[in-house]
Subunit: 202 residues, 4 copies
């Protein structure tokens, strides 16, 4: 079964998730209740590098007033986690130039297991790896493409006025990389807050 097929299937299972129209109502009380914006950071990590990055991403997100951020291992994420998140950041090590199979299987499970719609949630990506040309960037592209195929809106980090597709770090992860991770979390959380508290569709 392919991307479009399972997206279509989701539409046939509409009772399984909060209707789009409801989800996209602007939250008029966002300023009164700034705890509203939830940021979920999902990572796979074997040696600990991607985990360090994930925690820094969550830390950065938490800097935005009204944001609650949570970093979770890919194996521990529930459908409820995904459904209630306003922003979703994904991080993976680089194996043969792309994300780990465990992360890809988690993404496939958005349909196969969780049957969750991620439309209009805000996304971001990060990766770790060795070597300047070893595929760390391609991991970011694959993560961003997956999120956009799911209907998400995607943002990168802003670092000294510069943009980027996401953050990739050489193993072992150093302080510069962790600073970039915090910038990624902060920017994605900020965009999520602005999108969530904006006016509704006409």
């Amino acid at each position: 079964m392919t991307n479009r097929t399972f997206m279509a299937t989701i539409l046939l299972c509409a009772n399984l998730w909060v209707p789009l129209s409801a989800k996209q109502q602007p939250d008029q009380s966002a300023q009164a209740n700034p705890k509203e914006v939830k940021v979920l950071v999902v990572y796979y990590s074997q040696g600990g590098n991607t985990e360090k990055m994930a925690k820094a991403v969550a830390e950065g997100a938490q800097k935005i007033v009204g944001v609650t951020a949570l970093a979770k291992k890919v194996a521990d994420v529930s459908g409820e986690d995904l459904k209630t998140a306003d922003a979703l950041l994904l991080g993976s090590p680089t194996y043969y130039g792309d994300m780990a199979g465990q992360m890809k299987s988690f993404i496939d499970d958005w349909f196969f297991k969780f049957r969750v719609s991620l439309v209009d949630k805000i996304g971001g990506a990060f990766s770790s790896g060795l070597g300047g040309t070893g595929g760390k960037e391609h991991v970011l592209y694959s993560l961003v493409i997956a999120m956009m195929n799911a209907g998400m809106i995607v943002a990168g980090p802003l670092i000294e006025g510069m943009g980027g597709v996401g953050v990739s770090a050489l193993d072992p992860v150093n302080d510069v990389a962790l600073k970039e991770c915090r910038a990624l979390g902060e920017h994605v959380a900020n965009v999520a807050r602005r999108v969530k508290t904006g006016e509704k569709r006409k």
Copy 2:
């Protein structure tokens, strides 16, 4: 000179463009003056297919209340056009699996000629081409990656609840593709409106 270098150079030329902090002030009067959101569609077209797509993208954007959309040939775009746009959609034919050289040179000119910051503008991408595997998708990826490197937030079309990285169309462009282009313009314009009218950074 490379990406980071010219981004850094932009920072040193801050007087050339509207300061980031000013640009990102929320527009409190957006609901009173809904004409505020500007969508710029930039395309390169030789045979006319990408031009048809560009017009459909602009048409879709125009559906959102408060949006003014404009489709312009790549050669006709000014720095002022880029600076004042809230959303920027780029479209190109597929030559050897990537965007046309003319479109890439236009993108390079964001630094070399226009010295414009596109941070936090909303982006979208479309492409035309022949063949199921001829590179139409890679054009979208390259456009999206360029926009994210410039600090933009990127969204795709929503079609019957399904997402996507952008819209690619087989030559000659048919009605289904044009409908997808309208969906792309509509969604990107809608996101731009929500981001622009959201609350400001804390």
Copy 3:
């Protein structure tokens, strides 16, 4: 652990696989014994589309004199299959714009399970999916990038004098796509034969 790390680890486990120098000796008897060139087609398929493509790829490879081609499900492939193959073609359906998790985990297992070097083997890629922009191309890119990270040489199909990164097919797979698959198998097998029977490194 990342790409470079496990590649480096492979180097430390050199006794687990045929040394590079031995593997790369030209086969002086290739013309006398043209059965020498082995083409392995590995696929993951849930609905049957990618399987049909895999069989057509193997059929195309078999057209080259001296080639033995075999199509195998990803779950059935052994380390011996990988080690003895001169060419390796990978095919996957498109889930959220990238290959299926099962295929990615198989690729990761080149290190984690099989500890096999694929250096200088010839590679090719194919994918199935729905939608013109649904990610079928990105699957090809990810497969090609994985193979190049493993040190493989990569070729696409030649169709009426035209090249390509691989073959992607809309679901359900039609005769045009199957013809393209045969062209892919044929070209990759031919390149494998030429590389294998060429002179050795100086």
Copy 4:
């Protein structure tokens, strides 16, 4: 006009280039006349980094007995250069996450100006840029995808038994990067030699 269109047009202009069948005849005298294998390295460089890489790539290619390697600026390349090359390596700086417009326009000119077939030539890619995640890898992917769309066979560097899609270097280029460039040139030249001196298609 799109990729497939201009590839098809090339077929209609067959008298403009050496017929495929002739080009692919094995060169029986290759061992007697090892000077036969020509490697062309084409680069665009503004600050000098990519130029240094190009020269190292050519140097590496020259190590293979029988290879003549030449590095040329993109503006100086003729149709004859392309037609007579057995291997073609392309290098570009990274602007907004993709190759420079000048390099893309050169690639487009394979059809628009040179009308040359690159089928079965061996390709390789390199890039320079700033930042770990600035797009240097995407330049490699775009170059490799362009070459495969033109029907080329693609190989990366082999460095201590490890593969790669190509070589990307941080600005300013250091000795490690130049060593990788030499490894890229050497491997691509070696593959070109093996393919050229292999037996002909059956």
